[in-house]
Structure formats: structure tokens, C-alpha cells
Symmetry: C3
Subunit: 138 residues, 3 copies
Amino acid sequence: MRQSHTILTIQTPGAGLHDFTARVVDWCAGQDVTDGLLTLFCRHTSASLLIQENAAPAARRDVERYFARIAPESRDYEHDDEGADDMPAHLRTALTSVQLSVPIIGGSLALGTWQGIYLFEHRRRPHRREIVLHLIGE
Amino acid sequence: MRQSHTILTIQTPGAGLHDFTARVVDWCAGQDVTDGLLTLFCRHTSASLLIQENAAPAARRDVERYFARIAPESRDYEHDDEGADDMPAHLRTALTSVQLSVPIIGGSLALGTWQGIYLFEHRRRPHRREIVLHLIGE
Amino acid sequence: MRQSHTILTIQTPGAGLHDFTARVVDWCAGQDVTDGLLTLFCRHTSASLLIQENAAPAARRDVERYFARIAPESRDYEHDDEGADDMPAHLRTALTSVQLSVPIIGGSLALGTWQGIYLFEHRRRPHRREIVLHLIGE
């Protein structure tokens, strides 16, 4: 049994779902682990991780619009030092998650056919985000 | 230290919370691991995993009604190829989670007294769902 | 590779976000693990775990008010045996999470600069909560 880790840096162009499944798969492929557990951890409080439908762009746009609606920009937040999109970003992060673990079986991530791994950027402006990948297995 | 894995197939009768704690406990019991970490991973984007109250059926019905209310069926979604219950299913999955890890201590899952492990089916019709179980420990 | 575990008991004064990052860091420091994976598991259905902004108390108050608003106390729940704050507590737990895994790299939790680990108490009265910590690494 052994482990390895890395930090992926993702430059987001602005709010929305950004598919980075291929980068995760590529890194895992280089670790020579047949069976194990991959953990992804997003080091931010205004961006999160989400597994979503990887085929229909319309579904992702609906997800983005939904979170914009249930955790909207508003003048009613007490915390607004960093702009109107800051507090909704914390709320959307809380409603989703900053951590995700995916088993590896037979050399592949055990994702379902329609599952992609997305970074969900919640701020309007471009950001540089860090995702820690930790792999344990053999 | 060693690991093992399996895939549980669960036939859901339709939307709602389905308790499968017993199947998880049974599989773990056969792995001869005293201390470790169990990870459950749902390979779908329209069904999710949830730990919920295992004693009061009324509490589970309230949970089901709540998610039906905050992520309702609607004509306003752009993505509707697979029916009116498809996009709400993706949203309810995003609001809960497809992954869950539970420590194993002294041969037992470290669940609290009132915690059960549920598959939360979000589609109206019966579906065959796959849950990957990954166990590492000794 | 080896593992260790403990159970942290946290006495909550009532509803709200309670930072216990320091207790987690302290326990990990005593385990002599340089690289690994820490998993936190909350053994309750009316309290949850949340990583949130650790600098601005106003942001935490906004988070508390937000969850009180989207999963409010109400007479419309079927389950109300344990009081008006019970069913909203289950819903707020479902919207957040009872489990969280954080990689350990170079002897430190891989948290971002602004991330703190919070117990999110959803009941009004003080409660004694148990959080299982499981660490695997070397």
C-alpha cells in the first residue's frame, strides 16, 4: 500500500461549472495504482467540487442558474466587504461540497458513465484555484 | 493494511429514501476489518446518498417533500429531454452528495444511534442503481 | 502505513457554527503522520460539518441566517415530536454533510488559508456532539 499527492491549479474564467475530469484521470494514470481511493479537496470557501452530468451542456446551465437563484446576490447580507458575489459564493459552497472521494477499481476511477468532475466557481471574476489530490492504494 | 471493494446493485421502486444500511453492514462484516475507512460512491447523477434519521418514517417523508419543494419539477428548465423529473433529479443530487465515507472502529461502522444510510432516488420510475463500496483497513 | 482514530466530544451552546479546527489540528499533530488522509464523521442527524470562511464573523452569521431561511421552522412538517427545531435540523444536515475528508501533506492539514472546520449545530438547545476522527497515513 502506498500514497501520492499533488495540487492541481485551475484558472477559472469566471462563475460556472468547469470540467476537469481529464486532468484528474491523467494524474491518476501516472501513479500506477490499480485499486485505491482518490480524494479531491478544494482549498477555497467560494468555489466547490461537484459531480454532474457530463453530456448535456443545458443541464449544467440549469445547475448554474438554480444555485444563482437559491443563493442569490442580495443587499441583505451582513458580509459584503468583497463584493456582492462574495457571500452567495460562500453559501453555494456550503450547499455543495469542497471534498470528494472516488474509488479506483481495476486501474480506473469508478465514475458512472454520465459523471464528470467539475470545479464550481462561484465568483464572477477569474480566479486561480487549488485542488489537492490524494491517492492511497496499491 | 489491505483493501477490498464491491458494487451493490439497488433496484429502486421510484422516488424516495431507501434504507440500505443492512446491506452495507453485512458486506463489511465479511471483510474481516477491525479498523478502517469505508467509502460509498453512487455512480449516478440523478440519485444520491444521504445519512438520515432511521427511526421516524415521518421525518423521511418530510425530507422527501422538502427536496421536492426546493428543487421542483418545472417548465423553466432548459434541459428536459428525459422528462420533467430529470433536471430536478440532478439538482437534488447536487444539494446532497454522491459520496460518503464512514470510519470503522472495533469492527463496526461508526454510525450514530439514529443514523441510517439511504439511497435517495430522485427519478419517478424504478431504476437500477450501482453503489461502489471501498474499504481500507486492517 | 498505519491508522489511528479518536472521538472528539463537543459541547455546543446552541444553534450555530462552532470552530473546532484547533482541536483537529492538535490531535493530528500527536499522531506523527507526515502524509495521509483525515476523515471527520459527525454521528448525528441534527448537526453537521462545514468548512467555512474563518476570518469574518459576519460571513458565519450570514450562513446561519441563510440556512434558517431556506429550511425554516414551520408548522407544516409531519414530524414534530421533538419540537419545532427538530425537522429543520434534519434538513439543514441533509443540505450540508456529516462527513469530511482532508488530506495531510508535509505534516499539515491541506486546508486553504481561509478555511476553518466547523460543527454546525442545528438544534436550539445545548447538545453534546461526537465527531469521529480517522487518520490513515505514514
